[in-house]
Symmetry: C2
Subunit: 359 residues, 2 copies
């Protein structure tokens, strides 16, 4: 019943301000005054908005009014553990925002809100954290989404790896829209929104794994506006996915299984930048299995392919969009690719791990 | 344009089944066939439901229809990094579910859905992961919520610490309900739903930090049904919070600041189990600053206190609920406590860190 105070728990007259620290320390995860300073000075100042700043245990949003009585919520979540935290063309903050924005957008939904939880390692330079949160704020602004709830935790040094960010994306879709991995059907064509493999090679390069400098830059980008343009031009999209971990091949194998169809790709139609192809040739990697963070594949009726391609190619993130294959048959699911030699190669999901911690 | 295949990327005739592994390996995070096995055999089998099993990039839910045109979405997110993964009375899985359920429920919302992202360390025993996912499934069933979206990533050994789980809770609240940290006012009373500090001491004990065995068990519990009973009996609740990291004192300091009021507690009214108090006395800890994972504090008009207390005490998770203080004055925010000696102690937020990685 009684609670004698430990002196260390008494209120200090002057709580330590954040600018007394160059690095994250364990106390920044206490849930007390140091956590408050960190949230206020690093996160609220960059990502603050009316909903986030209310400071309650959960965020209240008016999505239901926006979506109307027949709208549906669309929700996706991802952990981001990319190593290193910074890489050519992006960083873990931009990646975390774009990852969840894209997962919601490929359902045909309007992305409205994000939540983010941060796991910080003791010793993370505050300047790095600030740079990453700046990058998140810029990506949120580009995508037109608000961060509405967040959490920070801190582990001891050596028990995490700088920074992990888990994000949840929230949007709404009209009830009429039906985009799902199970809707591919014979007669559909397969599009991809641009060149494959840049993200995977850029991160490998940032790790020093390549043994050379390639100048290749990650494609990490929020694709929600590109997708809005696409759906305005071609509302009859059957399947849409972003081709992240596991690459385009794994994504299309999943769709072939969910839809119980065969899919045939034309290798010569698949856009791959020459430096990416050269890096893959040197390293024995395959761009079809490399991660992308700014590319979608779209399956839709052939009659809409022209309008869809024009819409994609009109957007900065879709300039190199191409028609790369067809849904060939219902029945036994399979993904095959016709090579330039006229042979056919069977593609399966990525087996094992090619480049760990790519996203 | 061409994509010569690396032999290692070709489809194996027999992808390695999950039961070939006792431990998590890097390939389980590839996004390929090993990730698929892990998701299907460990997660889908335990947590599967129609929404989660659709297997698209994001979940589609009908919350908007359930909530009605004037309902509001309520969303909260948390990272969970508790160490160790198992402790008396709970584990990281139960904690992760209850943490997000409770954060949404204290807004007066009906909790409906959860998302979860998992960061696994290479070498985590699969049996431990299965036990934790079982525990999540049991907590979801108890709370009546569905896990609708999930993600798994794997780090190399030594780059994370067994398992981290980030959860996002999603629910809806009627537009008429107004529960917020800014609504405490003079004349209100302060309730707590039970004994303080059990979670903090239970985790410290599991770490071997105590130097003795206390038999104290964490209070980790989903409080949404308790809160529904409370709000049915006393719909005029002004503030409600779960007193997690930073403890009851930090929670009430935050409310005093958000509402710009003074709050005065009666130390002799605050429920603390005798073994917890004894452990605190020995270790120089203060139960007011220890984390709880199954306790709420409620601020409401005095006229409703009786009905509210009866509702809390009628629920298994609220047996020891008590009236512990009053909102004393508007103006300069402060939290004070009258001690058994008749003196007054000023309480501030937790400064620094008492027990790292408590949740």
């Amino acid at each position: 019943m009684t609670a004698p105070a430990s002196p260390s728990l008494e209120s200090p007259q002057c709580p330590l301000p954040l600018n007394r620290f160059d690095h994250i320390v364990i106390g920044h995860g206490s849930g007390g005054s140091m956590t408050s300073s960190l949230i206020r000075e690093v996160f609220q100042s960059r990502l603050g908005n009316e909903i986030l700043s209310a400071g309650n245990d959960a965020a209240l949003v008016d999505l239901i009014q926006a979506a109307g009585a027949d709208g549906r919520l669309v929700i996706s979540t991802d952990a981001h553990i990319v190593s290193p935290l910074f890489f050519p063309g992006g960083d873990i903050g931009r990646l975390a925002v774009c990852g969840s924005v894209n997962d919601v957008a490929v359902m045909g939904a309007r992305v409205k809100y994000l939540t983010a939880s941060f796991i910080l390692e003791e010793g993370l330079p505050l300047a790095d954290l600030e740079r990453i949160v700046d990058s998140m704020a810029a990506a949120c602004a580009e995508a037109g989404v608000q961060l509405i709830a967040a959490d920070t935790k801190v582990t001891e040094r050596g028990k995490s790896d700088g920074l992990f960010i888990s994000t949840t994306g929230i949007g709404w879709a009209p009830a009429a829209l039906e985009i799902a991995g199970s809707r591919a059907q014979p007669g559909d064509v397969v599009l991809v929104s641009g060149q494959l493999g840049n993200h995977g090679i850029a991160v490998a390069q940032a790790r020093g794994n390549l043994g050379f400098q390639s100048g290749i830059v990650s494609d990490t980008a929020p694709l929600n506006h590109l997708i809005e343009d696409l759906l305005a031009a071609a509302p009859d999209v059957h399947c849409m996915r972003d081709a992240t971990r596991g690459g385009l091949a794994t994504t299309l194998v999943e769709i072939s299984q969910q839809s119980a169809v065969g899919i045939t790709l034309e290798q010569t139609s698949i856009p791959v930048d020459a430096p990416v192809q050269a890096a893959c040739d040197l390293l024995g990697l395959d761009p079809l299995y490399l991660a992308n963070e700014g590319k979608i594949t779209v399956i839709l009726p052939e009659k809409s392919a022209g309008a869809a391609l024009r819409a994609l190619q009109s957007h900065p993130y879709g300039r190199a969009a191409a028609l790369i294959g067809r849904v060939s048959a219902a029945g036994q699911p399979h993904l095959t690719m016709r090579t330039p030699l006229g042979t056919t190669r069977v593609l399966d999901m990525l087996a094992g791990e090619m480049l760990p911690r790519i996203c």
